[in-house]
């Protein structure tokens, strides 16, 4: 623990931005949880930008965990030297995701029923369970790292993280892919999309937030390879949608979605952090598009209330939940860096 941190360390533009995000986003979150309803939702379009925020941050955290687990299993020193920093990143992002989710769930106090009355046939139950295990694993690893305890448990923990994080990312896709009767949500394809998007955004986040040359090179390589895969997935979807005659399918993919990933592939070495950010925004765009589009066709009687096909634009409170999720993640990562990384080597290697 670094005891040299002073108030001055918090008087920076980054902390100012984080504080604004926490206060403004937090106010919206508290209002939504306990007072009234501001989100642009209705009984037909129920999962909007706040849920997208949860998925975006949870998958990014998964990606960071997967890259770290890969490094630990393969003994890749360019990654393992940054174990603590990557653990802090993954934990911060996951807690940011949970914060956004909390504003979205209707009855937080009933969460105890996830444990008391579990339903293993529900992908949401699996998602909640796997991400809770993932959080515990990350915290255990961080505590072990802080105490300097390395040894026999390192490898099993790394494998555990790899399996749980991979399964969690796949399960998020299954939350949508197992839905019947909504053509834009159908199939195992969405699990592949969520798993690959976790890798792309996680690797990009490492490039963005840990600009050390050796790590940037390794994470950049993962980013480029997975961005290529992701672009291929989007392209497959574009072609599929162009030929699909499925009734009620609107289609969520567009060729424009390829641009961020193609740019990252071609130009990453020239401006790694900028293109990492572009890649992250590209992933957010794809996730937003498929999650929202799947709900735009009103089913059954709801067509009378909301029209056969709805349109959706996030409103300001919803956008502020995105800000809140990112601010929570950023605050935790900064705190972790300031308090827990003093005795860590963070030099460029």
């Amino acid at each position: 623990m670094n005891s040299n941190v002073s108030l001055k360390d918090f008087l920076t533009p980054t902390w100012l931005l984080i504080a604004v995000g926490l206060v403004v986003g937090g106010a919206v979150g508290i209002h939504e949880m306990f007072i009234g309803h501001w989100f642009a939702t209705n009984s037909s379009l129920v999962w909007t930008l706040p849920l997208v925020t949860y998925i975006f941050l949870a998958l990014m955290s998964t990606g960071v965990s997967l890259v770290l687990a890969y490094g630990l299993i393969m003994h890749d020193e360019t990654i393992t030297r940054h174990t603590r920093a990557l653990l802090i990143m993954a934990i911060g992002m996951l807690l940011g995701a949970f914060t956004a989710l909390a504003t979205e769930l209707g009855s937080l106090l009933n969460m105890v029923w996830i444990l008391l009355s579990p339903n293993p046939s529900s992908p949401i139950w699996w998602m909640g369970t796997l991400y809770s295990i993932e959080l515990v694993l990350l915290i255990v690893k961080l505590i072990m790292d802080l105490r300097g305890r390395h040894g026999v448990f390192d490898l099993p923990l790394a494998w555990g993280t790899l399996i749980v994080a991979g399964a969690a990312a796949i399960t998020i896709g299954a939350v949508f892919g197992t839905v019947i009767g909504r053509p834009d949500y159908h199939g195992a394809f969405l699990s592949v999309v969520t798993l690959v998007s976790a890798l792309v955004s996680g690797a990009a986040a490492i490039v963005l937030l840990r600009p050390q040359s050796a790590l940037t090179e390794t994470a950049g390589r993962v980013f480029r390879q997975t961005a290529l895969m992701f672009a291929a997935l989007v392209l497959i979807r574009v072609v599929y949608e162009a030929h699909s005659s499925v009734v009620g399918m609107l289609g969520w993919a567009s060729v424009w979605m390829l641009v961020p990933f193609v740019l990252a592939l071609l130009l990453l070495q020239f401006a790694p952090r900028v293109l990492a950010l572009v890649g992250i925004l590209g992933v957010l765009w794809v996730q937003y598009s498929f999650i929202i589009t799947g709900q735009l066709v009103s089913l059954g009687q709801t067509a009378h209330w909301y029209g056969a096909v709805q349109s959706y634009q996030p409103n300001i409170p919803e956008a502020l939940i995105l800000v809140l999720g990112i601010a929570v993640a950023a605050a935790l990562i900064k705190l972790g860096e300031q308090y827990l990384m003093s005795n860590q080597r963070q030099d460029a290697t």
């Binding site: 009984s43 969460m111 009355s117 579990p118 046939s121 709900q295």
Partner: protein, 246 residues
């Protein structure tokens, strides 16, 4: 045992008495209809066809809302086959809404019947909304039906979902759902769809019939029989004087 409903499209006149009866019986908030409708217009003038399809929870045998609910708040009742909801267990994740292919579940984003808590009178000598509730002794609103409260909260909690229960509180007393009793043309029949000798099973055996979106494999228990044909409007669906209900 599995309760189900048969709706005779030949007899349904599209009056929406079922919708109103449900609203009153179940004290649903403004903007929610547990019992509602799909309308379809097809064809070209003069051969135009208009269909009015009364809708509600289909109490699917293979209910995707139940499969997707993480806490078993949405569940199948083993003794009646009904798809029911336990608001105490509901975390408000809305997975049931996304999973139900029929759009029959509503979410309480706000506290239901909130406007009835207001204390301002429109004019001197009038009741305020809150005073009206107090005067009528209703729960949540002047229309709060206390009988509804025997199996499900009269006023549902903010942050939870709600949907048709086939009036399980009335079934427990041997009554038919409110929509069935309210139907002026006898288009709705209710009973044990698993019992081949029940009226509903006999109607299905006689006329065939289909549930909505059956191709999805949900096995809905609301079955629609006899598309409306003007030429058979004097043909009885069942012998005159036969009773309806559970």
């Amino acid at each position: 045992m599995g309760y189900g409903m048969v709706i005779d499209q030949q007899l349904c006149v599209g009056c929406a008495a079922c919708t109103i009866a449900c609203k009153i019986e179940n004290n649903t908030p403004v903007g929610f209809n547990w019992c509602d409708k799909i309308t379809r217009t097809s064809g070209k003038f003069p051969a135009v066809r208009y269909e009015y399809i009364s809708t509600m929870c289909n109490h699917c045998e293979n209910a995707p809302c139940v499969a997707g609910c993480p806490t078993q708040a949405m569940y199948k009742d083993a003794s009646t086959g009904l798809t029911l909801h336990d608001p105490k267990k509901c975390i408000g994740c809305k997975a049931c809404i996304v999973n139900c292919p029929y759009g029959v579940i509503s979410f309480n984003w706000e506290r239901p019947h909130q406007s009835w808590t207001e204390n301002n009178r429109l004019a001197e000598g009038c009741f305020s909304p809150r005073e009206m509730v107090e005067e009528s002794g209703g729960e949540g609103s002047p229309h709060g039906n206390p009988e509804r409260g025997t199996t499900y909260p009269v006023v549902r909690a903010r942050g939870t979902v709600e949907k048709c229960t086939f009036c399980d509180h009335r079934l427990a007393k041997g009554l038919a759902p409110a929509c069935v009793d309210a139907c002026p043309s006898g288009a709705r029949q209710f009973g044990d769809i698993d019992d081949p000798s029940s009226e509903v099973s006999r109607l299905i055996a006689k006329h065939g019939g289909k549930g909505l979106r059956e191709e999805l494999g949900t096995r809905p228990r609301v079955i629609y029989i006899r598309d409306y044909k003007p030429q058979r409007r004097f043909e009885p669906a069942r012998p005159a004087g036969e009773n309806q209900g559970a």
